[in-house]
């Protein structure tokens, strides 16, 4: 971990369409351990936002408590951030999203924050299909309290002190698919090539976009016997497909290989391109996605990529039929019924 970040940037850093160089999307210096998987994910977020020409102030970062939840401070310093309470980020994100449907809501959580204390909120934010990106930086342990097993630690996995986890792990990706999440992806913090397009597609998805990222804890869970160590994950990753994300504005000029490939058209015209590796898996079919995840798990493999997507996703605002204008922009003349209406109400109560 370093304490000073060099401020020098290459004078000819490429600019995105908004005229911003990538450093415009950075945050403050990370205080996580050197080599932490979470920092790689932050870097992927920065890259994704840069490539997507996101106006940082039109994105809100939200998190709970834990190592992972600290990361929103380490990217997009021009965005508002909210580091809430342990396991409760989904509720804060729900309120924030209801207040202003026009921003991108970027939630970051950890395996303790999501799979234990925040399980209830995680489950219900999926159910409501809140329009947000929800990344779990999943390292199977509690880092900030020094390495206790979390609920996503695999049964039989060893932690740094050599203790073997006795309990069945909670598989967040299959849980999300089962609960009806409309976008479920899984990735590995060390695979930026895969992670960046996933983040980009997630930001465009009109509903709850879940990305479970295996993110090894270098300090407490990177030992032999851990199933969330860099070595183990690299050996057991099984990519479903290579993923490309083609935003709407871009001309579609990607050349498809001869192998099977799939386009997923998003509601705004963007395309997700999946070059499939597994013939029997269809990311548009929930049952098929579920089978793929379970089959991989049975083989001790970690299936990555976009596992399931529902391009017809309808988010909470759609379900509640709220005004197209952000609710926080409405003024008294629209909101207050006024004294005449009150006269009528009084009359009805006599």
């Amino acid at each position: 971990m370093s304490y000073v970040r060099p401020t020098f940037r290459h004078p000819e850093l490429p600019k995105n369409k908004l005229g911003y160089t990538i450093d415009y999307y950075e945050g403050s210096l990370s205080t996580l351990c050197a080599g932490c998987g979470h920092d790689s994910i932050s870097a992927a977020v920065i890259q994704g936002c840069y490539e997507m020409n996101i106006e940082p102030h039109r994105l809100a970062k939200l998190s709970g408590i834990g190592c992972s939840s600290k990361t929103p401070a380490y990217f997009l310093s021009n965005s508002h951030g909210f580091n809430s309470v342990h396991g409760r980020m989904p509720s804060v994100a729900t309120g924030a999203n209801m207040a202003n449907r026009d921003l991108i809501y970027f939630g970051v959580s950890g395996d303790g924050d999501t799979a234990s204390i925040g399980m209830g909120q995680f489950v219900h934010v999926i159910r409501r299909n809140l329009n947000m990106v929800y990344i779990v930086m999943n390292n199977g342990c509690y880092g900030l309290t020094k390495g206790q097993d979390s609920a996503t630690a695999d049964e039989g996995s060893k932690n740094k002190t050599g203790q073997v986890n006795l309990f069945e792990s909670i598989d967040l990706a299959s849980l999300a698919i089962e609960l009806g999440a409309t976008f479920v992806a899984q990735s590995f913090s060390g695979d930026k090539t895969q992670l960046v397009p996933l983040i980009k597609a997630a930001m465009k998805h009109p509903g709850f976009a879940f990305i479970n990222v295996i993110s090894p804890c270098v300090t407490f869970n990177n030992n032999v016997g851990s199933t969330k160590s860099y070595d183990y994950v690299r050996e057991h990753v099984e990519a479903t497909a290579t993923v490309d994300f083609v935003p709407q504005m871009q001309e579609i000029s990607v050349e498809y290989g001869k192998g099977s490939h799939k386009h997923v058209k998003m509601h705004d015209g963007s395309l997700i391109e999946l070059h499939k590796l597994a013939e029997d898996w269809n990311p548009l079919d929930r049952q098929s996605a579920m089978n793929a995840v379970l089959n991989a798990k049975a083989k001790n493999e970690i299936l990555t990529g976009l596992l399931y997507v529902d391009p017809d996703s309808r988010d909470l605002h759609h379900l509640l039929q709220t005004n197209d204008k952000p609710l926080n922009s409405l003024t008294k003349d629209v909101l207050c019924p006024g004294s005449e209406a009150l006269k009528g109400i009084n009359a009805g109560l006599r």
């Binding site: 403050s28 106006e55 940082p56 102030h57 039109r58 809100a60 939200l62 929103p72 401070a73 310093s77 021009n78 965005s79 508002h80 951030g81 909210f82 580091n83 809430s84 309470v85 409760r88 989904p90 509720s91 804060v92 994100a93 729900t94 309120g95 924030a96 999203n97 209801m98 207040a99 202003n100 026009d102 921003l103 209830g120 909120q121 489950v123 219900h124 409501r128 909470l316 605002h317 509640l320 039929q321 709220t322 005004n323 197209d324 609710l327 926080n328 409405l330 008294k332 629209v334 909101l335 207050c336 019924p337 006024g338 004294s339 209406a341 009150l342 109400i345 009084n346 109560l349 006599r350």
Partner: protein
């Protein structure tokens, strides 16, 4: 309606009589029945005359309906209340209901008071007992000389016979069985029949009911005749069998004026609509559920875009109270006025988030409709027992603004005010109502709204203002009042963003564990607290100058009984001064009132004298000066109770008892 006293009061009626009577009713001619004879046959003691020939109590009595939950009694009982109200007579109904949907006993108590006393009063003048389950306690609850109206379709068991009360037997079940064929109707109209009986017994104007039914069944006019028929059955039976009206009865007055009859919860919900709340998150819990339901109903009316049909409001039923307040905080953080409502157990769950909102300085409005605790307690009974829990909710050094409304009008106005306060102070504001206020209809002055009123959004910087600022500091006390400037996400591309957190931070919202920064921030929060003292609703001081060395202090729904007690003390030549607290933190007026009296009776509806503790803690009042008057049986406090407790401390010994 005829007021001829052509019939004797009948003390008892038996099955046989009932049958006879029902037959006559079905023939539309109610015949006089020979009750005495039949009662004797049944082996019951017959009371020959009215036991107590009390002088007529016009517009001053309490009637209690003992019903079975889920049998449709609520609307019939409310019809009764509303009829009294429409006759211009002050009336106050109280639901005493179980935590149950169907089958358990439920009571509805109506106090009619010419003097306008709207608090609860002990002593039942007339019991309408239609629930066999609770009949024994119902019989015993009737005041000596009072009346016991019961369903005489079956013989009244001897255990229910008292010599000191009057019995009015009406064969409700039999009459309905004969008059209606549908099983549900037979059940429902029993309630309307006894209301009909009360029309005759209490001399209520029939035309008032005609008006009420016409309003209730607007668009469903087909239902009116069957209701009128049921009322008429009751009226005819009374006329045929009893001396009527009773000594307790009503007479038209003009005392209600332009007042309304409303539940506090609906008023809170409406206040939120008027205040411009665009988001509510909630978790159902008695007795607060109808706050957001009320909000939802009014919002459906006033917040639906007439052209697009889209809603200018979002309401989310959360998975629990933690999520409910989390959502409300998230929306407020993002610039939408938002609130939640809960009761005791929910308040406990919301503690963590309340601490976050206090420390991270996010506005949020919470309506706490208090019920009896601790734990699940009695969910359908009233209490003021969340005072300390709310005042200091969450770990660490926290204090929260509390608002104490007493009437539906105040529920409406103070809810609207709370949104201003929460945003101006950037902190949670908790509206402390209770089940009594929230779920009972209260007579209240009409709701009032000034169209010139603007929403006070507090210190929020827009893009233009941010442009002019060199460096934005979220927690920089620019104005030295402890209240700093905030920004809403999405306002400006490069200025105004900051990280909201529950961890310590410096004036620029940057994480820090520096002791000095932490302490500076905590001290500023106290500076803000002191600013709040000047902004929260001032107490109501009842007198321009002190009349007595004794004062009474109360808040919320204790107002009704306390004002009545005050009147009585005055009549007894022992006047006391009074103050009603409307908010916390306490303003100087509260301190002055306490300091200028020798002893203060603190009236509250909890066991532990929580408001007294709060006064001691926050104002450093000598405990021996504050004498508790407490009520914590789950029922609204009564004037008699207050008077009794005050008398104990005032009479005889001059020693002042501690609470």
């Amino acid at each position: 309606m005829s007021k001829k006293l052509k019939k004797k009061i009948v003390k008892k009626a038996t099955k046989k009589v009932a049958k006879k009577a029902t037959k006559s009713v079905s023939k539309k001619v109610a015949k006089k029945s020979n009750t005495k004879k039949v009662a004797k046959k049944a082996g019951l003691k017959v009371v020959k005359k009215s036991v107590v020939e009390s002088k007529s109590k016009v517009n001053d009595f309490v009637i209690r309906f003992a019903n079975v939950n889920g049998t449709g009694s609520a609307s019939a009982n409310f019809l009764f209340t509303k009829a009294i109200f429409r006759m211009g007579i002050p009336v106050t109904p109280k639901n005493i209901f179980p935590s149950n949907i169907q089958g358990l006993p439920t009571w509805y108590e109506v106090r009619v008071s010419e003097k306008g006393y709207l608090g609860r009063r002990e002593g039942i003048d007339l019991m309408v007992a239609v629930n066999p389950q609770s009949m024994l306690s119902d019989v015993n609850a009737v005041k000596k000389g009072g009346y016991f109206l019961y369903d005489s379709s079956k013989t009244l068991h001897s255990q229910y016979i008292r010599n000191d009360i009057n019995y009015i037997g009406i064969p409700l079940m039999q009459m309905c069985n004969e008059a209606y064929t549908d099983a549900r109707q037979r059940q429902l109209f029993k309630n309307i029949v006894y209301v009909g009986a009360l029309i005759a017994l209490l001399d209520i104007e029939f035309s008032v009911f005609e008006g009420l039914l016409a309003e209730q069944f607007k668009g469903k006019e087909k239902l009116i005749p069957s209701n009128v028929k049921a009322l008429q059955l009751g009226i005819d039976y009374v006329k045929a069998n009893f001396k009527y009206p009773l000594d307790i009865r009503v007479e038209r007055r003009n005392l209600v004026k332009d007042w309304i009859l409303m539940e506090g919860n609906a008023a809170c919900g409406l206040g939120a609509v008027y205040a411009g709340a665009t988001f509510a998150a909630w978790y159902p819990i008695t007795p607060s559920t109808s706050v957001v339901e009320g909000f939802s109903e009014f919002a459906a009316e006033f917040r639906t875009d007439k052209v697009t049909g889209k809603k200018n409001v979002a309401i989310v039923q959360a998975e629990d109270e933690l999520a409910a307040i989390g959502m409300a905080i998230g929306a407020n953080w993002n610039g939408a006025r938002s609130f939640t409502a809960t009761s005791g157990p929910g308040l406990s769950l919301m503690n963590e988030f309340l601490g976050l909102a206090y420390f991270a300085e996010i506005p949020v409005v919470l309506v706490d409709v208090q019920r009896t605790g601790p734990s699940t307690g009695m969910p359908t009974r009233t209490q003021q027992s969340d005072v300390l829990e709310a005042a200091y909710a969450s770990h660490g050094d926290t204090k929260h603004v509390l608002i104490f409304p007493s009437t539906p009008k105040e529920c409406f106005e103070m809810t609207a005010d709370s949104f201003d306060l929460a945003e101006e102070l950037q902190t949670p504001v908790i509206i402390m109502t209770d089940l009594d206020l929230g779920m009972n209809d209260h007579m209240s002055p009409p709701l009032n709204w000034d169209d010139k009123r603007e929403y006070k959004r507090g210190k929020v910087l827009d893009a233009e203002m941010l442009e002019k600022i060199e460096k934005f500091g979220r927690y920089l006390d620019v104005d030295k009042d402890g209240i700093t400037y905030r920004t809403i996400p999405g306002t400006h591309p490069s200025k105004g963003s900051f990280f909201t957190r529950g961890t310590s931070r410096d004036e620029y919202a940057v994480y820090t564990e520096d002791s000095g920064s932490y302490q500076r921030n905590m001290d500023r929060l106290i500076r803000k607290w002191n600013t709040a003292k000047k902004m929260v609703p001032a107490p109501h001081v009842y007198q321009k100058s002190n009349q007595s060395e004794n004062g009474i202090l109360f808040f919320g729904t204790s107002e009704y009984a306390a004002e009545e007690a005050m009147d009585i003390l005055k009549e007894q030549g022992k006047p006391v001064d009074a103050i009603r607290i409307k908010s916390f933190p306490f303003s100087k007026a509260v301190e002055d009132f306490i300091n200028s009296h020798k002893r203060i009776f603190v009236i509250e509806q909890n066991r532990d004298a929580q408001m007294r503790s709060l006064l001691m803690i926050e104002l450093g009042i000598n405990p021996s000066k504050l004498i508790s008057v407490l009520n914590y049986n789950g029922l609204p406090i009564t004037a008699d109770n207050i008077l009794g407790q005050i008398a104990k401390n005032l009479s005889g010994s001059k020693k002042l008892k501690k609470a």
